[in-house]
């Protein structure tokens, strides 16, 4: 199978975020990044399926120059090559604008059997992009995928997570888009050989015009939703913070749990 895995570069989970001076984005200075968690699982799922079906994984990422680090990591894990949607016009998009660009890139690649991506990003968290790409391509989609079986007779069988502890096996025709739930399979580490090999793999840098898209259709110009202000939320219930070294804090906490909260 020819598989495209869409990945996103996001701030590391533990990153201390600060709002930038424009009041609408985060200050990127000194922020470590990683591949979005559920996209890592999508990549793992894609690599396994490619190995089983004698296919290949192409990584697709929309982001600036700095995102090349995430692409190299995906290549080191085993993706064959990458498409990097990297152009100033792509910046500042919402899920709509980003999906438009990703769908155009999948069409431009041609011959794709399956698009995989994570169920949502750890930064914007729209949980829309994969499904938007499917509709733009006119392909079927399924979300929250926990297991994928090898395709058979032009259809693929997948296990979905539903609400309230329910699950479901469904089949759908390929080509299709699947969004992957975190935890589907343990994510492999990049080997030293993989890291060395990744340096020679192709990363194709693509602009809107390469995809036949007008610059006004993507990025900030193409968005439907605008972030007017980004800010640190006011804390609704202030926790009582317990100070001191570990020993002191532990003693204070036990005292409070006994005497004030009366739960010990």
């Amino acid at each position: 199978m020819n598989i495209v895995v869409c990945i996103k570069q996001v701030p590391e989970r533990d990153a201390r975020l600060k709002v930038a001076s424009d009041g609408r984005s985060i200050d990127e200075a000194g922020i470590a990044t990683e591949i979005n968690e559920s996209d890592q699982y999508a990549l793992e799922a894609g690599l396994r399926l490619a190995e089983k079906t004698d296919g290949e994984v192409v990584v697709l990422l929309l982001g600036p120059d700095r995102a090349e680090e995430s692409i190299r990591r995906a290549l080191a894990m085993g993706a064959a090559r990458a498409i990097h949607l990297n152009d100033a016009a792509f910046a500042g998009g919402d899920a709509t604008a980003t999906a438009r660009a990703l769908a155009a890139a999948v069409e431009n690649e041609g011959g794709v059997d399956l698009v995989l991506t994570g169920l949502q990003s750890d930064d914007a968290g729209w949980s829309q992009t994969g499904v938007l790409v499917a509709e733009r391509l006119g392909w079927p989609s399924a979300t929250l995928i926990m297991e994928i079986e090898s395709p058979e007779g032009g259809r693929i069988k997948v296990k979905r997570e539903l609400e309230g502890g329910w699950f479901q096996w469904i089949t759908l025709p390929t080509p299709a888009v699947l969004t992957i739930q975190s935890g589907i399979y343990p994510v492999r580490y990049a080997t030293l050989k993989g890291i060395m090999g990744a340096k020679k793999k192709e990363i194709r840098k693509v602009s809107p015009s390469d995809l036949g898209l007008d610059a006004s259709a993507v990025g900030e110009a193409g968005r439907r939703v605008e972030v007017r202000r980004l800010y640190v939320p006011e804390k609704t219930a202030e926790a009582e913070m317990i100070e001191g070294d570990a020993e002191t804090a532990a003693a204070t906490l036990v005292d409070k749990l006994q005497k004030k909260a009366k739960v010990l």
Binding site: R13, D14, R16, L17, V19, I26, E37, A95, T96, L119, Q120, D122, G125, W126, S127, Q128, V131, L132, E135, P140, S141, T143, L144, E161, E163, W166, F167, Q168, I170, T171, L172, S182, G183, P186, R223, R224, V225, E226, V227, R228, R229, L230, Y231, V232, P233, K235, A237, A239, M241, I242, D245, A246, A250, L253, V254, K256, Q258, A261, V263, L264
Partner: protein, 334 residues
Amino acid sequence: MAGAIWAVAQLEDGRPKGVSFETVAAAQKLGEALGKPVEAVVMGSGARSAAEAVAAKELEAVRLIDDPKLDPYTPDPYAAAMTRAVEAESPDYVLFPHTYQVRDWVPRLAAALDAGFVSDVVAFRVEEGTPVFVRQPYQGKLNADCVFADEGSDGVRFVSLQAGAYLASDAAAGDAAAEIVEQEIDLGDLETRTEVVDTFQEVVDKVDLSRADVIVAVGRGIGKEERLDIVRELADALGGQLAASRPVCDNEWLPMDRQIGSSGQTVAPKLYLAVGISGAIQHLVGMKNSGTIVAINKDPNAPIFAVSDYGIVGDLFEVVPALTQKVKEARGAA
């Protein structure tokens, strides 16, 4: 009705799920703020009784889309039916609960109509006639005020609301039952692509965490499986159960049946200790109603502190063993 606000219900076993009434409550509030009529939409197969349940609320109408292709749920017929209903009726805003099911089909609808979709909204207000929707990006670490970029032009706009953002009990009841309008949608031409093979609950020897008085939950901050022991010792000292946030279970450091949160169990013990858990919303929904909540985390800005009664900012590898020791001393003395 053109220019209306729609609240779309989600059904389960033929009845509206509770979140459907949260959506109705939000739609009523938005309708009041914008001076627009509010209607509900019920979709399903044999869904009239569900529509009647929704019609008890204060609504201009309940639109019923009843079609055998809408049961069992698959995304294409839902997206197609709603696309056609929106094209026929031209509502201004369509509100949904932000459920797994909505995430599965509403983006298709938004793309088909080339409309904006603000998902996972926790609150909204209206400023100078424009609704401003609040979301919590970056795992709940930040808030974002969002507006539709095309506000003021014709066209529909989609919004989904986080569970619990609005209260079902705030959905105002009507003086009389709202009229149920059968929305004529023909899905006969729609090709069936997705086939449901089997829908089931995982049969596991499940640990019922909801019965525990004390839960010590561990998160990503633990870093390695081998380090779980210090947290297990604390749980033992407290006579409590060990639980975890999703990443710990995804890494298979603890079994899935110990997971707290939207894809795990919902608990409300007397004492909940969150160790190395930052407090993503998916975790918070599973534990925020606990009696006393204690968080231990190295990041003073971690969202978990916002729902906690007591917080310790520090290295869990120092704090947890110290706490275990103090708990043993306190209990031994008691």
